[in-house]
Amino acid sequence: MLLSGDFARQDFALGRAMTESLIEATAERLFGDHCTPRLLAAAEKGAFAADFWAAVEEAGLPRALVPEEAGGFGMPVAEALTILRVAGRHAVPLPLGETIAASWLLAGAGLALPDGPLTIAPVGKDAALALERRGDAWHLSGSASRVPWGRDAVAVAVLATHQGVPMVACVARGGFTVAHGSNLAREPRDTLDFDASLGADAVAPAASGVDHASLRALGAAMRSLQMAGAMAGLLDMTTKYALDRTQFGKPIGKFQAIQHSLAILGAHQAAAGAAATGGAEAVGDGLRVFPIAVAKLRTGEAAGLCAGLAHQVHGAIGFTYEHSLHFLTKRLLSWRNEFGNEAEWGLMLGRHLAAAGADRLWHEITAA
């Protein structure tokens, strides 16, 4: 079968450029096969889906943003990142985006890429982690909160500043202790306390132009794609439910009130999809921050609205653990607050536009 992990891996190994539709189909098949309600429920109880991860890694998906010679896709960034939209649609309970971001940081700094799930730190607005030189080696200390999948990562790509220069450190498991936390979807969001001695081969200056703001922007762009995917999933699920569920002698989707709710859901998920794609393009275009801010703000705003409408149309059954709707809605209600909520990105955009001034407002919007 064309879409198997083995095929995909061979294709990457050969360095052949994959087409967007093929990578999307590969992801769709892989996620669709593995992401069962049973697996999602187990993940919520803390079981890391190791077999699923192995299949994802075998297909080369975590290397989406690294150069082709390091196992990357060899296709435009926006197309490579399509896999995160597909992952969002299936509520994939794995640190795929985090490993993609960590690999991007590490590869950009010229550091080796460990196999296995990775994550990034810091992700919030914590005090900076302290990176000091000790002889020929380095030492990293400090705490990072809300680190996604911290407990499951074999290594963390840490961004820390040394004498004003953004540096990337690869900290393997053992170089930090983990205090468990989670988001509303029970995805791990852990606090990591670092006390790590690092060899010279584990620390290097970040790629030119990469700093904490870029890492936050990349995270925001990735969550936007995941949210857009999750909303596409909601639309599909909720539309089908409305055609299936009968009340008052006909499918509820035949009632105009329900049709209009679904139309609103559809419109906002379409806007979210467009904004998220714009954000993904901006990642590939030097991490231009304006479209990424638009993406996170627009998808974040749509997330709550679409989750609410999906629940309303599903009625009581959608509020049960038994029904799988909540695997998507709980993620949406969490992801909208991660890597900056709508207010944070709106504030950034608004201050930028106000500083540019009224007569440049339209120019700023069209040039972004």
């Binding site: 679904l262 139309a263 627009r298 950034m348 930028h352 407002l361």
Partner: protein, 381 residues
Amino acid sequence: MVDLPFAPPPPCPEAETLRLEVRDFLAEALADRTPAQRAESWSGHDAAFSRKVGAKGWIGMTWPKQYGGHERRALERYVVLEEMLAAGAPVSHHWIADRQSGPLILRVGTDEQKERILPRIARGEAMFCIGMSEPDSGSDLAATRTRAEAVQGGFVVNGTKLWTSGAHQADFMILFCRTGGGERHEGTSQFLVDLKATSSIQIRPVHALTGEHHFNEVVFTDVFLPETALLGKLGDGWNQVTSELAYERSGPERFLSSFLIMTEMLRVIGPEPSERAAIAIGRLAAHIHALRRMSRSVAGMLQAGENPALQAALVKELGNSLEQEIPEIARLLVDCEPSLESDDAFLATLSLITLHAPSFSLRGGTREIMRGMIARGLGLR
């Protein structure tokens, strides 16, 4: 998989060069236009301005040169449209003809109609109005009652059109009416009516709630139209009119009608806004940015010859709500009492647009009709 796809807009580098040219032109052409006049947006009327736009080659941009067009790309035309709206240019003399009447004539008209009418539109010299709505046929277009009876050498029309914007200024109307038997969608046709050369058409003003005269009631009493006035195929009116609506609904005028408030609000708020104001402005700008992307995606679909009726409905649904939300946010961010007489640019703009806002989700197909179309696209109807 139920899906409402928006492909990324096709790249069009030429459009950005053109954009600067349009901005320079508008800076000069609109220098004397007050903020309140600019706030009229695409209902602002100035025949001389439209002739200047025509002379620049910015009307009928995508049409064949043979008919006075310029064979440019849909995304280039899009840039001209959005720059006009963002600047508050008085475009109503050419807007409807450029947007939907011209493309319709190009698609279904006879060679004679195309040769006679399209170059006039492209020069900015032929204003069109849309003869669709009637007293008993608003959202329900298929309930149209105006009828054209075939007679020797042509047709005789009887009936009343209502809410016809600009009929009192227009040179032509594209009339949608019954020509045959059958139910609802059957037996309808479209006609190209030369309003200036046809006798016994009565055009009466219907004043809007502001007192402004944009709408009209247009009464046809035994009005004779020659055979050459038939536009497209006899009896094919429903297909023609529904395809026309995709052009009517997807453009930047469906989310930029109140953009001028954004500009004036930012001027009042200044370079160091409060946190609350900055968040609100950033949010609105993000919504505009996302809608622009969707709307340019539709322009790309039109360019590729696809039918984006569903995507157009999505743009209009979201865009109209945004246009209506902008004045609501502005009035909370800037403490003020709106007044149409105000000399203040922000207040004058806010006042006019606050009063125009209810029409945004009525004109060009109501919000409820758009939601019905989207539901149909989802397979619910």
